[in-house]
């Protein structure tokens, strides 16, 4: 019974420790990466891939129309 209790306590300490360290991991690195990803997704090069196929679709559609 005592062994089970010790194991439970250890598991709780492990989980608590894990959560505490994961929260302490520097957020700034994540936010810097996030911001770079955000800016990269807004770069004209990235947008070209989405917007140019759209133009083609539109041109095809308009040629089919009445």
């Amino acid at each position: 019974m005592r062994i089970v209790l010790i194991i439970v306590v250890l598991i709780c300490i492990f989980i608590f420790g894990f959560l505490a360290t994961s929260r302490r991991t520097p957020i700034s690195d994540d936010s810097v990466d996030d911001f770079h990803k955000h800016l990269d997704a807004l770069s004209p090069e990235t947008r070209k891939f989405n917007i140019e196929p759209t133009k083609n679709i539109e041109l095809e559609d308009s040629s089919d129309g009445p």
């Binding site: 955000h38 004209p44 133009k55």
Partner: protein
Amino acid sequence: MARDLAIDLGTANTLVYMKGKGIVLNEPSVIAMNRQTGEVLATGHEAWQMIGRTPGYIVAVRPLRGGAITDFDVTERMIRLLLQRVGVSRFTRPKVVICVPSAITEVERRAVTDAARRAGAADAQLIEQPMAAAIGAQLPIDEPIGNMIIDIGGGTSETAVISLGGIVALEAVRVGSFDIDVAIQNYVRREHGIAIGERTAEDIKVAIGSAAVTPNEVQAEVNGRDLMQGLPKTVVLTPEEIRYAIDDTVTQIVQSVVRCLAKAPAELAQDFLVRGIHLVGGGGLLRGLAQRIELETHVPVLMADMPLEAVVLGAGHCIENYDQLKRMFMGQRR
């Protein structure tokens, strides 16, 4: 699996962009209903043709005015029908990004998201129209330089300065190309004594409307109803008359651009002089408007490649890169 959608829910037109496909719908934001039973009879182009020409039991309305929902139930029904037309069913509920005016109030914001959710969207996010327009117009908004964009829609005109993926300065007025149509209607009624409809006023604007003197100007014959006799009557309108009629409205738009320039940080002013101001939206197609803004701001004005589609293309780009661009959505900025 539903394809996510971007919707430019404009006062004049509604455009829908489907992830991986591009623009799949571009129609006037008009719905025609049976006044007695409340049944929807037509939407889009078909309903637009009915404006001002319906029998008593049919009403053709624009459920948005000044970029805001004026009739929540009708807007919800219109969005539901639009989503159905692009393949959304109760089993396929897409994520939706909706472009809205930046000056939208909290109540209006909730009205739009609720309307989209009730119409079948799994999640509805909002993005400011000038931001979406800047993305769609391919401006280098990821760089630390000042990008200025003017979006003139049916009910709103918005000017924004964008740098490093965020809005630096913003100015919005609830004045747009529909107000120009109303100004033309009022002028013709007052000066020529004839009543003309919304669609005729728009035709006059497109045919001879201008914000500054342009080459090869022509006159236009306009048919309306004589207010005194009640009989059909034809009058001739000149471009000078129309310029005079719409001057107040055009001035309000130009003044909002000037205010936005004044709000922008001084550091970015040189960027505007070099890179110019970019113009998008249907209202921006008014002849001479770019020259008029140039004249009053002393900054070059350039028309975007796809002025009518820029907003929905920008929102479409956010749908294509949803995770990276989450912070663009209203209420998501950290």
